[in-house]
Every structure is written in structure tokens, then in C-alpha cells.
């Protein structure tokens, strides 16, 4: 469904992404992890059309999409959320979600009604007529998800939807994301919260210094020496216990 090949991006003297390649199969949940500053958000931005790449190729549903504008990609079914939530601050939850609904729904009244249904899918029914300014960070993260879902995407890019949530809130978010996949949406997520990645993703890519350094199922990734060293520093792998797959590890 998504094939990223040899993508590179420099900001002045800083190489944010260097020769990154990955692919996401239709119907799966794939994750892109990596330490702070690894280039995850830049790579996401490139795929979603927000950041121009210097080189490489990004194919979505078989077509080259590098260089297309974000709104064009959204219409084709590739939608992203933002790590730092970007709500329509002056509007209500319903109006926020309705903006997403309007991508496929020309009628305003119908879009506002659909928004309520989408809010139900992410557990926001009770908050539907609240102003966005009254939401907690967990509420805002759900709103990001709801708005993106409202556009009826085929591939959803979730940029750290768990960041800033407490363990109870994360535990609520995980089944929600699974339900989205069950509804037929393919997902690529970036995440800091290892626990979430391990329980959600089928395949994990690890990005470090702008390069993909490992790929595989989560259980294998957390035991990978290169990954442990990328997160904890050179030599850390030797001192690291071998039972990370049990969960609870927080990157």
C-alpha cells in the first residue's frame, strides 16, 4: 500500500532523513520507532506531503506521490495526525470532526451528524458539544484521531498519538487503534511508548540518525543490539537484560 524508497532530506547542514526505505502492507499496523531526533516526524511529513524530500520515491497504492500536496493526498485516502495536536481551537468537538467529514460529505447538516458517529468510535460521545479549549491532552489526542478518521482514510499515519498520555489513557487508546484497523484502515504509527508499539504493531521499523537500522516483529526488535544501542548508547546492549518483550519498557 505504501512504499518508501531511498528518501532523503537535509535541513541546511543537518541530515534529518538519509536513504530511508520502508513499506506498509494493506491492512496491517506498522510502526516507525526511534530515539528523539531520529527523523521520524520528518519522514512522516514527507510521506504526507508536508515536507518536500530531496530525493527518493514514495508510492501510495501503486502511484508515485512525492511532491503532491497534503490535501490531494488526503483526498486519495492518505491522512496524518500531528504529534503536537493541531485542533481548530475556536470550534467545538463536533465542528472539528465535521471538517474531516466534509471531505466526502458535501452537505453540512449530514457532516455534523456523521461527526457524532465518528466521535462515538473514539469514545468522545459525551464531549461532542464541548469547546475544544475544555479538552484534556488525552481528549485532544482522541480528537486528532477522530478528525482523521472522519475523512475515511485508507492509510492513516499516526504521529505519536500516545505521547503525553498516562498508562491508563494508553490502555484505552490501544484497543481503539485496533478497532480502526479492524474497520479496514491500514496504519503506520510513530511512537515513543514501546509498550504500545509492542502490543499494537505487526512490524516495526527502527529509525536512527535518519537511517532505518532494523526491521521486524516487535519481539525481535526490542532484543536487537543495534536498537538497544541506538536508544541507550554504545555498549548498552551488553548490560541490558534479555526479557524486554514482557512490556513495560518505556523508551
Amino acid at each position: 500500500m505504501l512504499e518508501v524508497a531511498g528518501v532523503g532530506k537535509r535541513f541546511g547542514g543537518l541530515t534529518a532523513v538519509e536513504d530511508a526505505s520502508l513499506h506498509v502492507r494493506e491492512g496491517e499496523i506498522a510502526a516507525l520507532i526511534g530515539p528523539n531526533g531520529a527523523g521520524k516526524t520528518t519522514l512522516f511529513g514527507i510521506v504526507a506531503g508536508f515536507v518536500a524530500a530531496d530525493r527518493g520515491s514514495v508510492r501510495f497504492a501503486g502511484e508515485e506521490i512525492l511532491g503532491l500536496k497534503p490535501h490531494v493526498l488526503a483526498r486519495r485516502g492518505l491522512v496524518r495526525t500531528f504529534q503536537l495536536v493541531e485542533p481548530f481551537a475556536g470550534l467545538s468537538v463536533r465542528e472539528n470532526i465535521a471538517v474531516g467529514c466534509q471531505l466526502r460529505q458535501p452537505r453540512r447538516a449530514a457532516a455534523l451528524a456523521e461527526a457524532a458517529a465518528v466521535a462515538g468510535r473514539v469514545g468522545m460521545s459525551e464531549l461532542i458539544d464541548r469547546p475544544v479549549s475544555a479538552l484534556t491532552i488525552a481528549g485532544l489526542k482522541r480528537l486528532e484521531l477522530a478528525r482523521a478518521l472522519a475523512t475515511q482514510p485508507r492509510l492513516l499515519l499516526l504521529d505519536e498519538v500516545m505521547a503525553g498520555l498516562n498508562p491508563a489513557e494508553i490502555a484505552e487508546m490501544v484497543p481503539l487503534i485496533r478497532a480502526i484497523r479492524e474497520a479496514g484502515v491500514t496504519l503506520l504509527l510513530t511512537e515513543h511508548v514501546m509498550q504500545a508499539v509492542i502490543s499494537l504493531a505487526e512490524r516495526v521499523y527502527v529509525l536512527n540518525d535518519g537511517r532505518i537500522i532494523a526491521e521486524g516483529p516487535p519481539a525481535r526488535i526490542v532484543a536487537d543490539e543495534r536498537v538497544v544501542e541506538a536508544y541507550l548508547g554504545h555498549g548498552a546492549a551488553g548490560r541490558w537484560p534479555r526479557r524486554l518483550g514482557e512490556g513495560g519498557a518505556h523508551a
Binding site: 504526507a48 508536508f50 500536496k69 497534503p70 490535501h71 488526503a74 483526498r75 491522512v79 496524518r80 495526525t81 500531528f82 493541531e86 485542533p87 481548530f88 481551537a89 475556536g90 470550534l91 465542528e95 465535521a98 471538517v99 474531516g100 466534509q102 471531505l103 460529505q105 458535501p106 452537505r107 453540512r108 447538516a109 457532516a111 478528525r147 482523521a148 472522519a150 475523512t151
Partner: protein
Amino acid sequence: MKTPAIAAAAPLLALAALPLLLHSDFWLHFAIMTLYLALLGQAWNLLGGYGGQRSFGHAAFFGTGAYAAALLQLDFAINPWACMVLAGGFGAGAGAFLGALSFRYGLRGSYFALVTLAFAEVFRIVADSVPFTGAGVGLQIALKESVADFQFPEKSGFYAVILALTAIATALAWWIENSRFGAALVAVRENEDAARALGIDVDRTKLWAITLSGALSGCAGSFYVQYFLYLDPRIAYGVEVSVTALLVPLIGGVGTVLGPLVGALALRALNEASSALTGGAPGLNLVLYGALLIVILALLPDGLISLGTRLRRAGRLRALGRA
């Protein structure tokens, strides 16, 4: 669709019957100028209120419409009614031109405001220096008091025209609040990146808004020409038009359907009161505008239109206190 149409019909009919009640030309002139200000304010509101693109140079569109209306009938003998439609087109063109330039280069906020102001000033200087606009002398429309020439022997004729124009502008604002385009426009105002991510073509949405706003401003310009039969660069492209266009919705309530009407009424009343009290000392109305704006921004940042909801809320709180 039906209910708002009925809800709008009653006040519209009442307003249409107003000339029958107002026998004095003073009050009819007052009503005409109020509606004219409301039209100009609503034009600004579509772009600045709903779209968040706050222009400081709506005179650029107003003046272009006004000059188009005047020159087309003077130099090309086009019927003034047709000129009004064309003036709307010229206003829209000026809007689209300025919008295409500033939105392509991503100008927002104060930068957008400054660029619009600069363009209005450039247009004023050009109109002041080229011969075909009559330069500083201005343009005079010959008096031909016939309905076919868009000149009415009675003020009530002008009243009917400006009432229709303002009703259309108000209906447009209502449509914005209830349409997909309006939802996109408001989304752009609130957060451009989020709007983009949800499939909204941000530049196109802004471009349509400024074109629409320009069209209404152009119509207001042509109405001004027909009503006063005179135009010069300062009237057409002066800062006063730009300031009025943004002051009306700011005072009445930005991004609301009826805010510009309320703001226009308040501003016009203030204007009349100041000239009655001081004998119309030049520039004093601007001082009063400024004072009013400060008071409004300090006490009612959502405009006079929010007074109703505020009083209701205060009433509810008092009732709760008693219970």
C-alpha cells in the same frame, strides 16, 4: 433551508416597509448609510471574520469597483445598472489578484494586512496621477434622475437597492455558516496545517473568499458612486474606507451573520451623534471611532452582538443565585 428563509423574510419585509414610516429624508439617509456600511462590513467579514484573513486595505476592492462603475458609464456609456454588476466583477478581480499574490507567498496575519494596505495606497496614488480617472479633480456623474439610469428622484429607490445588496451579503454570510465551503474557510482560519491534513485546499479556499469579498466591496463602491454622483482617489482608495470596512464587523461581531448590521448601526449612530454635538468638526468622527473600538475591545471582545448572550448568561447566574 425553509425555516431560515421564513425567519429572514419577516425582518426583511419590515425593513422594506421602512420608507413608508420614515417621512424624513434625514432618517432615510441614515438608514441607507447604515445598510451601505453593513454591506462594506459584511464584505470584510466574509474574508476577515470567517476566513481570518484580516485586510487593512478593502479600499482597494471598493475603489476599483467604484472607478469601474463611474468610468464604464462615463467613457463607454454602459448602463449604470450593468455597471454595478461589472463593478462587482472588477472588485472580484482586484480581490483575486491581491489574493493570488499574497496567498501564494504565504502572507498571513499582519503581513497580509500590510500588503493590502500598501496595495490600496498604490491604487490611490495611481488614481491620483493618471488622466483617465480624472486624477485629483475626481469624476462627476451627470444628473439624470431616472430609474433606468440608476438614479432615483426619491431616496427610497436607493434604499431599496442597498437593502437588496445588503440582504444578499447577509444571505452569503448565512450560507458560509451552513455550507461545506464555509466550514473549510473557518477551518483555515483556525489552523491551516490541520485544514490541509484534512483535505482542504487552503490557498484555493482563501482565494475564493477574497474574490467574494472583493465582489461585494466592488458593488458597495458602485452604489456609492450612484448615490453621491462623485468620486475622487481619496474617497475611492482612502484609508477611511478600509478602516470602516474592518471597524463595522469588529464593533458588531466578527465572524457572525448579523454582526456587521449591528456594527453599522452603532457606527452610523455614533457618527450622527458626533456631528450633531460638535457641528461636524473634521476628523472628530475618527477619534470617536477609535474610542468606541477601545471600549468594545476591552469590554465586549466578541462585539456588540455578544451583548445578548452575555446578558442572558448574567440573568441565568442571578436566577441561580436567588434559588
